[in-house]
Symmetry: C2
Subunit: 485 residues, 2 copies
């Protein structure tokens, strides 16, 4: 698409005015946005707007947007709610079309005054033909253009877009995802959506070459008729992952006091997901879980899963967990079992799926031999391998030193990293970290080992449940696409 999208200048602004900044550097809201933009090295021009101040943060201040000497690509408004209508009128007068309203105090308060104010600004936006993000939101976070003034700094530019009706979720997701090497193309916190709607943002993200995956936190939508066909179309080339908040009655009431949206009924949303093929998740972590699968795995439509952990009790739990998430745990073929039984001692081990093989956990050669045999089994579509985070305060008293044990653990992990990426069968293999979280040391070790796997290009998960859930969704997405063809 060679034509420049109407919203492009908002995401890559050369001139930004900030209304509602204070000469006091401790000021929250607009002032903290201004300080952070300077701090991050935003390359465009910034115009602080203040009725009296000459300079703010060393920048020349202007009394209003009309007095800024050049066209404005973006106006950020952080004044108190009752003053927002006047600023919008100023924008119309100044010919500034792109606006982000940070201010809250509108319909989300549930109070008459806020509802009235929201009606008023909606009218102004329409009349002035403004492109408005918000109100009651954090606006845009674009690492690529350094328009990224939220609490967590960008650590890189990436391919995940996040469209969110909660700014807090946007900040938390950034803090959570970046250490895993999952970076963002664009994050849009759009709040009460009095101006631009979900479909407008989606239309932008559809053509954005940096965006390969689109994640969405939604409370309610006002433009369902446009959104449904758009998502259906986009989802074919850019997987769309949606967390719909407010699905319970209590959650729906909370939505009303958050963004003033109507959350809508469960079965309407069931139909929405069925029709669009969008991937349904229930938390921010689950968004990243699914994205990791898309980043690292070859497409796969089968759900027959090999489980490899250790311990008979664990095997039962693992099989239950995966089945509940919709995966299937097939029996291995006779040939596979015969090949395994040739060198696996049956007492204390099991060569059935889930494999319960303590004896290979400390021997990378045996481990490799087992993996090569079982992944070749045509009954298997994908594998989940459960790994210990470490040994913590556990002592097996079997004469093997802790150092020796750690060394073997790492050797097997190294093999798995290689095998996950290059196994000759092209079957997805993901890792889950087995951790019981009362051990201070292991809590950190588990995250660290998970980070190591992910940074080496392996989809690794904080629990078997999260691994199984992500794999089910990944497989289902590819099945949906195949059916559409």
């Amino acid at each position: 698409m060679s034509e420049i999208h109407a919203l492009h200048s908002m995401f890559y602004p050369k001139t930004v005015a900030m209304v509602g900044v204070s000469p006091n550097p401790q000021g929250w809201g607009g002032t903290s946005f201004l300080i952070r933009l300077l701090d991050i090295g935003f390359p465009g021009k910034i115009y602080p707007i203040h009725p009296k101040a000459d300079k703010i943060q060393g920048l020349k201040a202007y009394p209003n947007v009309q007095s800024v000497p050049e066209p404005l690509d973006l106006v950020m408004i952080a004044v108190s709610a009752p003053n927002v209508p006047q600023i919008l009128e100023d924008c119309i007068e100044a010919g500034a079309k792109n606006v982000h309203i940070f201010s809250s105090g509108f319909s989300e308060t549930g109070e008459e005054e806020g509802i009235k104010l929201e009606r008023q600004i909606t009218e102004i936006i329409k009349r002035g033909n403004l492109r408005v993000i918000g109100p009651n939101c954090m606006g845009l976070y674009v690492p690529d253009s350094k328009l990224a003034a939220w609490g967590v700094k960008p650590a890189g530019t990436g391919h995940l877009a996040f469209l969110s009706q909660s700014g807090g979720h946007g900040e938390i997701l950034t803090a959570y995802a970046q250490p895993f090497g999952v970076y963002f193309s664009k994050i849009i916190s759009f709040g009460n959506a009095c101006g631009l709607q979900v479909a407008d943002y989606l239309d932008y993200l559809r053509q954005d070459p940096d965006t390969r995956f689109i994640s969405i936190y939604l409370e309610g939508i006002k433009d369902g008729d446009r959104v449904v066909p758009l998502i259906k179309e986009i989802n074919r080339t850019k997987p769309v992952i949606i967390w719909k908040g407010g699905m319970t009655e209590a959650g729906s009431r909370a939505v009303a006091s958050h963004t003033g949206s109507l959350a809508g009924e469960g079965r309407i949303w069931d139909g929405f997901f069925k029709q669009t093929g969008a991937i349904r998740v229930n938390s921010l972590e689950e968004i990243i879980d699914v994205v990791l699968a898309f980043m690292y795995l070859k497409p796969c439509q089968g759900r027959q899963t090999l489980l490899l952990g250790g311990g008979g009790g664990n095997s039962v739990a693992f099989a239950d967990i995966c089945s509940r998430q919709g995966l299937e745990i097939p029996q291995l073929s006779e040939k596979t079992r015969e090949e395994l039984n040739a060198f696996i001692r049956l007492a204390g081990n099991s060569t059935r799926n889930p494999l319960d093989l303590w004896m290979i956990q400390t021997d990378v050669n045996l481990y490799r031999r087992v993996m090569e045999i079982v992944m070749a089994d045509p009954a298997i579509d994908l594998a989940i391998v459960d790994r210990l985070a470490g040994f913590g305060n556990f002592d097996d008293d079997d004469g093997v030193s802790k150092e020796e044990r750690e060394k073997t653990l790492n050797e097997v992990n190294d093999f798995l990293s290689e095998f996950a990426k290059n196994n000759p069968y092209g079957k997805p293999l993901v890792v889950s970290m087995n951790l019981y979280g009362s051990d201070l040391l292991l809590a950190g070790t588990s995250v660290q080992r998970r980070l190591e796997f992910i940074k080496s290009g392996v989809a690794a998960y904080p629990s078997l449940e999260s691994a199984a859930r992500a794999m089910f969704r990944f497989v289902n997405y590819h099945k949906f696409l195949a059916k559409q063809k």
Copy 2:
């Protein structure tokens, strides 16, 4: 109960013979048991049994159990499966009644030979009127009598019993629970249960004065007719918490290769839980989650929950999570909201339930004022308060230093600890730790802050989901008891 229970001498043995120990200290199985018993300072007499050795680990060895010069309270067998029948015959000849068979290689292998061996030992046990734990299990773990030779050493004696068809689960649970100050009265890993059955152990735990809560990991039971009425009775005074493994088809197949049990059908177990009132859980962590509630909270039958976290998006998620777990999130009374609105700024905050009050998170006085008002509301039965683990790589740029922020966080936590234990309304208040787990530092901090809460006598949970789930089960238990009366 003044009469001594038939199983007492197994749990508090004065003489133990260990069959299947090796002079080589690296030997697994029996040898590691022996070394650990010595290490922990087991006060009874230990007799290693070995066909040739004179001494093992400095103790005089005997060629067989018959040659031990005094009556044996417990014989532990760790020889290979085909040799087990002969040792059992020796026990009968020696008049030793109490036996723990560690050895595996029986029906759980699914092989003809193992199934035949299991039939053979079952016959010997019956004929000799032996009291046998196992085979294929870790046996007893009794901190009080120092018969505790598993991988994790006892850190104290406590009131939780764990009856488990998986020894691995026993070890993991010990490692997980003890750092929280949850200690054990008795752990019993009973494996394939060819001799003593679930009901026999329950009968012992019923009268055990040290046991106040009973947790069970079950794969299948052979003596359902005795177990159901027993659990129903015990549950009235000692809450019984059960994790039933193998509830899915794949899980049920895994059960077969683990302990050779038949896992049984879902609806039979549904009926079981409905009839007995036992608390159903799905993991080891969930056992401890429920136990913490019983340890620290006053009985409560209502499920109307106050939620206090922060952030509008979080409020929606919190309400959804708690509702899905079966709790209700009622609206606060007009009176309560008026009292809150008198000092809470509505823009950016919400005085509806879930409370979304960033402004009180850094002010312990405001926090206290809010808690005192909302907990007095008759619409509220209990409260879940979500707390930040810490600040990690998050920077709010609002002029507040990290040290200052940590200080306020701790002040509010201290207030909560006090208020949870002594609030004038006697309503349960539990804490959940809010953590997104990619931050190495926060992963540890979160566990540490959770430990601090728990050690100060507050039930604290690793996530809102786990807190809500535990509270629902706790409340349901008390409702069940009330209905029975």
